[in-house]
């Protein structure tokens, strides 16, 4: 190659042939670089099983096989930054990289179905707040069973575990009322769910719609059944600003573009730690709490790395990493809820558990009713 190039450029002029050779070389180089899988970046024991703080998470064989695969692709409803933070700890513990695709639940469900139908599923592990999607994926054969030893005994809600181990609860998500103390006229007057939809905040209330994944359905259930029909109508009357992602709600509350909001707890912690004057409310009537569910793909491109992720993330250690990012654990024995830069976190609020698995038959009606009352559709 070197000879040919030297000969052909002897006159110092670039001809189409040279241009195409150069471009072909660039394509070859760049195309091979594109989508290449991450190499193990170190971390964890050099050999032997994966044992952290005395807890055996995976045997030697699985750890070695996962490292050979080098990477997992995580499809998650969790905010990307948080998933990356957790993924980094996984990489440090195991040497396996984590590629995160974060999206609202419905968008993720569409992506998974589209890729599966095309026979080209790129995700290894799925995390969703919609148990109905999980059941559908299990029935469609998209999921692989992975038994996580000791998890059911440690789980706050063992019933949420699939009896055939296709999916597990992974974390508890919390949605609660909040306001921006710098833009509301009287911060002390805002204490409850009713206060955030006071008419003075018309056009200044940020929410996510009922149609966005399991958490959206859970919010519709909570608002309809706990806060009541009159509350829903008051919400509609203040013409809330609808955002497709909970992070957008938090961002706009932090910037003061909306004054009050129904906010996703870990995202709120992130902005509070950044100095945003967001105040979180934990009313006596309770805040909404629901389970997310996690599963390994049946035809996962990296099956061993995916199994390792499932075992690691549901272990006591993995769940303590989770609580360290401001997200509530599904285990009884995980470490305390904390977020760097946020003090006085309410560790034991009154919660209203959204039992979505008992609402499979009514969730479409719930969403339709919410859309009709709040959005007028």
């Amino acid at each position: 190659m070197r000879l040919a190039l030297r000969r052909s450029t002897r006159d110092g002029r670039l001809r189409p042939g040279h241009w195409f050779v150069a471009t072909a070389a660039a394509i070859a180089l760049t195309a091979t670089g594109c989508g290449s899988e991450g190499q193990p970046s170190g971390g964890g024991p050099e050999s032997g099983p994966l044992v952290i703080d005395g807890e055996t998470i995976a045997d030697e064989e699985l750890l070695a096989a996962a490292r050979a695969e080098g990477v997992i692709a995580l499809y998650t409803v969790m905010p990307e930054q948080q998933a990356i933070t957790i993924g980094k700890q996984f990489t440090a513990d195991t040497g396996v990289e984590v590629q995160v695709t974060s999206a609202p639940g419905t968008e993720l469900a569409t992506r998974i179905k589209t890729e599966a139908d095309a026979g080209n599923l790129a995700g290894d592990v799925f995390l969703t707040s919609a148990p109905r999607d999980m059941v559908g994926w299990k029935d469609a054969g998209y999921l692989a069973p992975v038994e996580v030893p000791g998890f059911a005994e440690a789980a706050l809600n063992p019933d949420a575990v699939d009896p055939e181990f296709h999916y597990y609860p992974y974390n508890i998500y919390v949605y609660l009322p909040a306001f921006n103390a710098a833009v509301v006229p009287d911060p002390d007057a805002i204490k409850d769910w009713d206060d955030i939809i006071d008419p003075q905040f018309t056009g200044k209330v940020g929410i996510t719609p009922a149609g966005v994944g399991g958490s959206g359905i859970a919010q519709a259930a909570f608002q309809t059944e706990v806060l009541g029909e009159a509350w829903l109508q008051k919400l509609a009357a203040v013409k809330p600003v609808i955002f497709n992602a909970s992070s957008e709600v938090a961002q706009n509350l932090a910037q003061g573009n909306v004054s009050t909001a129904i906010i996703f707890e870990p995202t709120a912690f992130q902005f509070i730690a950044d100095g945003a004057p967001i105040v979180l409310l934990y009313p006596e009537v309770g805040v909404l709490a629901g389970d997310t569910y996690q599963a390994v793909a049946a035809n996962a491109p990296h099956p061993n790395a995916a199994r390792l992720w499932q075992l690691w993330s549901l272990s006591k250690h993995g769940q303590s990493v989770l609580t360290g990012t401001g997200t509530r654990s599904v285990r009884k024995d995980a470490g305390p809820l904390q977020f760097p830069g946020v003090d006085d976190i309410e560790t034991n609020p009154v919660i209203w558990p959204a039992n979505l698995t008992a609402r499979f038959d009514t969730q479409a009606e719930l969403v339709a009713h919410w859309n009709e009352v709040v959005l007028g559709q």
Partner: protein
Amino acid sequence: MTTIRTSDVVGLRPAVWRGAGLRKSMFTGVVFALLGILILAPIIALLWSALHADDTGAWTLDNFKELASASAREALWNSLWVTGLATIGTIIVGGGLAWLVERTDVPLKGFVRVAGVVPMFLSALVGTLAWSLLGAPNSGYLNAVLKALHIPFTINVHSWYGIVGVLVLYYSPFAFLIIQAAFAVSGGDMENAARISGASSFQTTMKISFPLVAPSMVGAAILGFVIMSSNFPVTSILGAFAHMEFVPNFMFVALNKTPSQPGVAAAIGVVVLSLTWLAIWAENRYVLRKSYVTVSGKGARPSLVRLGPWKWVGLGFAIMYICAAAVLPVLALTIAAFRRGLYYADLGDLLDPAKFTTDGFARMWAYDQFHLGLRNTVVLAILTATIGTIVTFAAAYVAHRRRVRGHQLIPYLALAPVAVPGLILGLAFLSFWLRVPVIAIYGTIWILVFAYVCQLFPFGYESMSGTLVKLDNELEDGAVLSGASRLRAIWSITLPVIKAALGAAFLLLFVLTFREFTVALFLYNPQTKPLSIVIYGQWIGGSISLVAAMSLVFTAVLVVVTIINRVVVRNKD
């Protein structure tokens, strides 16, 4: 004098040309096959999706019935009037700047020309993000300035007029380029005659100059309307506060709701496509049937309109435009990239040096998705530009040499993607390639490359056509007569002659691919995510300093490639 045509000589050598004819047929066949796969098939697949039930696959019109819903009607209506207003705005801004450059004595003409083009290379996504930082009613930097100056006025880009304004800022360059080119080739005879007959500069401008470039203005309006009507980031980022539904968002939600409704998304796509094609038909029927011929053998340069003191207003208009479309947005992104924290109390707090840090860039550098996105975008741009240049050259060659039956069809096919909004094109590719499991390119970078090549085909084709039409056949035919095969003659004679044009087309396609966002929305996967998608994802996630840092890098790459492009184009000219 006896003229011997190449074809006459060719006729004397049937043995040679039989073999060449076979190769020619194969070459032409490949060109038509590529045009079919890249352009026709996805559109047919879109129509198929719209006419079939998502669950049973049976023929149905139910997907179109869904379009009677209140939200679908609202989306169509909003897209129509908001994009319509924005289109008028782009014609006024782009056409106005083009007129200043070509027909007036405005000072610093070179600067005005650059001002008309530069925003095209900033990307509407980055521009929208920047304007959200500048013009949000509470947190906007400009509003902090207004408050500090005690000016009781609030800028609000989170509104219908904010959406129109941002669209006008970032799509006026398309109108500018088209209308400027029309002014440039339009002879000045009629304008000069009007002046001699006593018409004022204003009368000449309004009654002669602009009417003469009317076809280009209509063409620019249609092109602008098509591109803007499918713009997802502008309406998605700014539309929530305005409580407005738009077609791209409606399609996105239809595709991503549970259960997903790809048929409904395809149906609204078919409706938009039909409206677009109707507009193009109307343009051909009613606008282009008149004669606008002004370039004749005795063509004269038009005398420039002397603006007097108004020339400073013209220059001020260009300065304001480039400030609003490029300078202020880059400034806002720079502040956001270097500032710690999203919240600020007032202008002093916003500009407090203690709050400035390079953390945003450090986070960007440590952010894997940034590297993945940048690498993917560069790969996509190289592949699209390379394949696009080759395929558009082949198509333009077959069309212009006119040696094969059906060559008249090529321009129609090649320019058809202009009428397909980007979001609909992405959906069309999804519909098509999911039905072709034999060639499983869904989930790979190739589906993005093919979609980009299709979307940008008209740009590459026009660039190649413009060059080939000026190139005489004699050199290439001479080589064939001397015994070279046609492909060898193209390789050794034609391509070296037009290498600068090839380079210019390559760089144009590179830049346009680099800034693309909407087409990729349905087609990327975790490994093939382009940088524009990564930036949008982080905006949704609320990491503003990271978004700003990535946007600055994104813009810097575009600026560098654009400068290279300008140099190459100058060489080409």
